[in-house]
């Protein structure tokens, strides 16, 4: 185990990077593991909201200066996507990148690729930047269905109208009296990035809020 988790020095010799998910043999549990979502049957009646966890994704937080041309081109070279503009999200192969703050972005990718993506980023970026693997700290819940937007409207003061929240927009806002990064993936599909410590609470909130519309729990 210690062999596997040995940190390796980055080429700048300043940062010790480590594969936080080194082998499939190491058991991992998502923040909603204990809710046993896979064992839920479909509810009675017609379900107009589906909710499920996109569990065990790789989450990387990138910070840097978007006004620096080298930083922008480095991101593009490493991820194959352009740095998203304010409140926007972009999709690449297996990778999505969301604006979080003027100097902060969230990258989602398969967990198995997270370390490779991190290393590619470090190879392509120079100077004052940071890449942090926060995969263990948060999870993604996907809401879909014709009434998904109504569940969100009940849970957040934000304006989710089509004219204000087009596909591809991402906002970090108050959600269920806590906080979530909400990204509109398609007309009826919304991804919520939720903190690990709030995952149980937020999921129960969603189950309650969606029950009046008929909730179908989906398992990826």
């Amino acid at each position: 185990m210690s062999e596997v988790l040995e940190p390796t020095k980055n080429k700048d010799a300043l940062i010790a990077v480590m594969d936080q998910c080194p082998a499939e043999a190491v058991p991992t549990e998502s923040p909603l593991y204990h809710r046993k979502l896979g064992t839920r049957g479909a509810g009675t009646g017609a379900a107009t909201v589906s909710a499920g966890e996109l569990n065990l994704l790789g989450h990387l937080v990138i910070r840097g200066n978007a006004e620096e041309a080298a930083f922008c081109s480095g991101i593009e070279a490493a991820l194959g996507v352009q740095l998203p503009e304010t409140l926007k999200s972009v999709e690449g192969d297996d990778v999505s990148m969301s604006w979080i703050a003027p100097d902060e972005w969230l990258v989602l990718c398969p967990l198995a690729k997270a370390f490779a993506v991190e290393e590619t980023l470090r190879e392509n970026l120079n100077g004052h930047y940071s890449v942090v693997n926060v995969s263990g700290g948060q999870t993604v819940v996907r809401l879909s269905g014709s009434n998904a937007v109504n569940v969100l409207k009940k849970s957040s003061p934000y304006d989710f109208h089509d004219s204000h929240f087009p596909v591809g927009k991402v906002v970090t806002t108050a959600f269920a009296k806590t906080q979530a990064v909400i990204c509109r993936k398609s007309a009826d599909t919304w991804d919520l990035v939720i903190r690990r410590s709030f995952a149980d609470y937020a999921w129960r909130w969603l189950e309650d809020a969606a029950s009046e519309y008929g909730l179908q729990v989906t398992v990826e």
């Binding site: 304010t86 409140l87 979080i100 703050a101 003027p102 902060e104 003061p157 934000y158 906002v171 970090t172 806002t173 108050a174 906080q179």
Partner: protein, 104 residues
Amino acid sequence: MFYIYCPYCKEHREEEEFHAKGQAHIARPADPDACTDEEWGEYLYFRKNPRGLHHEMWVHATGCRKFFNVTRDTQTYEIKEVYKMGERPSIVAQDQNPTAAKQA
């Protein structure tokens, strides 16, 4: 409820997303060792509480988590302007020039 414009997210958000963080533009004395106790005490503990225009800091706590400045009228609660950290307000009360008022 305030409906506050975040200069970093570039849109209006509910007050629920923000926290007020007190008076803005408090400059730390350049040489703290050279301060008298009174000057240091003023810097640490004494804050304005004006009736009228007030420059204050707010943080977009559940959004981009950035600090910014707000010029607000404490009588009407009206937000006159919002500007980023490091910028100076363009709306300043006539009688609110801090050094002039203090020295007078």
